[in-house]
């Protein structure tokens, strides 16, 4: 499923455009450095070093933070030394594909607290089938409902594990 448009073939640079690997490496290294920095700062807050009754809470995480910062520094340096363009992290077409999956997934996760997990799952499955599988809604909607019902029977009835429920389940008396 290459996203290369016919009119762009031949201009390799355009066809493979996307965030560069170098930029992503740098960004990740910086983010991990920040995570290490946060760990160090918080460890200083709770106290590090030797207390009255042994090592304080922050001691171990503090040194982990130090090592994380140093290792990320190493990654940052090697990313900065990548002078030549060794390719892109992902092409724009690929990123668009990832986004078309990630965005509905994020919406799904965001809606679970309100709609419960069963209704949202049915919608997610039906949406995926129509959007990516080119199914008609006539087959997609029953399929989504069937999957949800199966999950409901499995978890609520068989394993007795309650999952998040929304207004529809309440209306049905569960």
């Amino acid at each position: 499923m290459s996203a290369t448009h016919p009119e762009l073939i031949g201009t390799v640079a355009t066809a493979e455009r996307g965030p560069s690997l170098r930029a992503m490496e740098i960004a990740t290294a910086v983010l991990l450095m920040a995570a290490g920095g946060i760990a160090m700062a918080d460890s200083v807050r709770v106290g590090m070093g030797w207390g009255a009754d042994g090592p304080l809470s922050g001691t171990f995480p503090f040194w982990l933070g130090v090592i994380l910062v140093l290792a990320s520094l190493g990654n940052l340096v090697s990313a900065l030394r990548m002078r030549a363009k060794p390719g892109s992290f992902a092409t724009l077409g690929q990123l668009r594909l990832v986004a078309t999956v990630l965005a509905p997934t994020a919406a799904y996760v965001a809606l679970i607290p309100f709609g419960g997990i069963y209704v949202t799952s049915a919608v997610l499955i039906a949406f995926f089938m129509i959007r990516f599988g080119e199914f008609r809604w006539r087959s997609a909607v029953p399929a989504g409902l069937a999957a949800s019902l199966l999950a409901f029977m499995t978890f609520e009835q068989w394993f007795l594990v309650p999952l998040p429920k929304g207004p529809v389940e309440t209306f049905l008396g569960f």
């Binding site: 709770v46 594909l97 799904y108 594990v161 999952l163």
Partner: protein, 502 residues
């Protein structure tokens, strides 16, 4: 030794209970399914099912979950051979020769060879566990906190020193895992660490949720990006194919032995099944009389990686059982299960939980026999799953991941966390950050810190405690040597041409 055999006998009595046999079959079938489906693998499949096993006695639960592991190991081969899609990372090397064999119409032979090799590799590893694990555990009974810290240090050093990728990335991933493990309440002092006032974070970050995100959701994202089209070869395995392939396989006995040894070694040191399969494939090609035939459908090219991968996957349970230090992400999830079921992992397990340990070991023998029969008989059905459109599979897997993340603590926040770690995992995979050290650090973080603190308490704050006797000093020195192995190697290489010139 005799004592162990008697214990193994009673283990078989436990594993052969009807309920446990049923769980074994269910586990294998589920495991093969998980191995076949993209986005579900041994580690996150087990992570999703773990919260559902509380109702079972621990030994039944571990039999179910470990059989899912064996099933996933078998299942990876099916997609590799028939679809040229490695269902699991450790079956990448199997695609090199397995798929060409299927294209030549020898799919049945390739699959029979793959399953049989998996079985042999696992069997060798289980025999090794049977005899070695009790000895290691007995030896480890002498360990105090400094020695445990040293063992963990050694296994984490292995990730850095023995990995093929950037050592800095391995260290960064590992430290990120350790820091995540530290989030929440400190069990010793009761202080809140890195929670920033968030109530959700006070409970800590559950490794199961992280595993589901890192290995499940991110896998879906990577698969989507590659634009999945399942176009596979068909295979029917007849008894005739099986017997003919089996008649040929004994000729490769030396390959089996060598690949099993590579697998066992790589499984005990936490290098894992994936590098083991690549290494075994590489060695097989280098030592073959016909190295150019590899990659074009040579049965040796299927036997070598599959034997090693299964041997490694199985022997990863040896350090998990005897020391409480898992050798692979999946073993780490199983170890997390032990803790959740209220068992204390470590050498005492062999003393206090004899039934559990030997029941598990016996189930490894039985589970692999059951697994071999099931996969040989049911390949067409399992392969049919990949003919279900990806749009349905992906959506159902997303639902399963969300439910799995929720059931860990009945928390909706965990579903969000799973999503976040899915994206983190996607970026890390694309940038070649290894995920295994992150997961192991997250699982072992608390126990590593505890060992570290107790050691320092013993010595009243002196780091000298980690070199205070030959045992702990030896393990620490080995760890340091492995850790700086890439550096030492570079220095030696830099020196050697000069030495040659002189």
């Amino acid at each position: 030794m005799l004592e162990d055999l008697a214990a193994l006998g009673s283990g078989f009595a436990v594993a052969l209970q009807p309920q446990n046999i049923a769980l074994m079959v269910a586990g294998i079938v589920l495991g093969v399914l998980i191995g076949v489906l993209p986005g579900l693998g041994g580690a996150n499949g087990i992570a999703i099912l773990l919260p559902l096993t509380f109702a079972l006695p621990p030994v039944s639960a571990i039999i179910l979950l470990s059989c899912i592991y064996w099933g996933a190991l078998f299942g990876g081969a099916i997609t590799s051979v028939l679809f040229n899609i490695p269902g699991e990372p450790w079956s990448v090397a199997t695609t090199f020769d397995g798929y060409p064999m299927a294209q030549q119409g020898k799919a049945g032979e390739a699959l029979t060879a793959a399953f049989t090799s998996s079985f042999v590799g696992a069997l060798v590893a289980v025999v090794m566990i049977t005899f070695l694990a009790p000895l290691v555990a007995e030896f480890a009974l002498k360990f105090g906190p400094p020695e445990f810290f040293a063992v963990m240090f050694l296994s984490f050093a292995c990730f850095v020193g023995l990995s093929r990728g950037s050592p800095f990335k391995a260290v960064a991933a590992m430290m990120f895992g350790f820091i995540l493990a530290g989030v929440g309440m400190d069990g010793v002092t009761g202080q809140m660490r890195m929670t920033f006032g968030s109530i959700e974070l006070m409970r800590g970050i559950d490794f199961l949720v992280v595993v589901i995100g890192l290995f499940g959701l991110s896998e879906i994202l990577v698969s989507i990006e590659e634009g999945l089209r399942f176009k596979g070869q068909r295979a029917v395995i007849t008894l005739k194919t099986v017997l003919r392939t089996w008649a040929e396989l004994p000729r490769h006995w030396w390959l089996f032995i060598r690949s099993s040894v590579i697998g066992c070694w790589m499984g005990i040191t936490p290098a894992g099944a994936t590098p083991a399969s690549f290494m075994s494939y590489g060695v097989a090609r280098r030592m073959s009389k016909d190295p150019n035939g590899f990659g074009k459908g040579k049965v040796e090219g299927v036997v070598a990686p599959e034997t090693a991968a299964h041997a490694a996957g199985t022997s990863a349970l040896l350090p998990m059982l005897s020391l409480g230090v898992p050798g692979s992400p999946t073993a780490a999830v199983l170890l997390g299960g032990l803790i959740m079921w209220g068992l204390q992992p470590g050498p005492m397990l062999f003393v206090e939980q004899k039934d559990f340990v030997w029941g598990l070991i016996a189930s490894m023998y039985l589970g692999n026999v059951v697994g071999l029969v099931i996969v040989l008989a049911c390949v067409p059905w399992f392969a049919a799953i990949l003919r279900v459109p990806f749009s349905i599979i992906a959506a159902v897997i997303l639902m399963v991941c969300a439910i799995g993340a929720y059931t860990v603590n009945s928390s909706e926040f965990d579903i969000v966390l799973m999503l976040v770690f899915g994206v983190i995992g996607y970026v890390m995979k694309k940038l070649d950050y290894p995920l295994a050290p992150l997961v192991l650090a997250l699982v072992l973080g608390d126990r590593t810190e505890e060992a570290f603190r107790q050691s320092l308490l013993l010595s009243e704050g002196s780091m000298g405690v980690f070199f205070s006797n030959w045992l702990v000093g030896g393990i620490m020195t080995a760890g340091l040597a492995v850790l700086f192995y890439p550096l030492i190697g570079r220095v030696l290489r830099a020196l050697s041409p000069r030495a040659a010139a002189a």
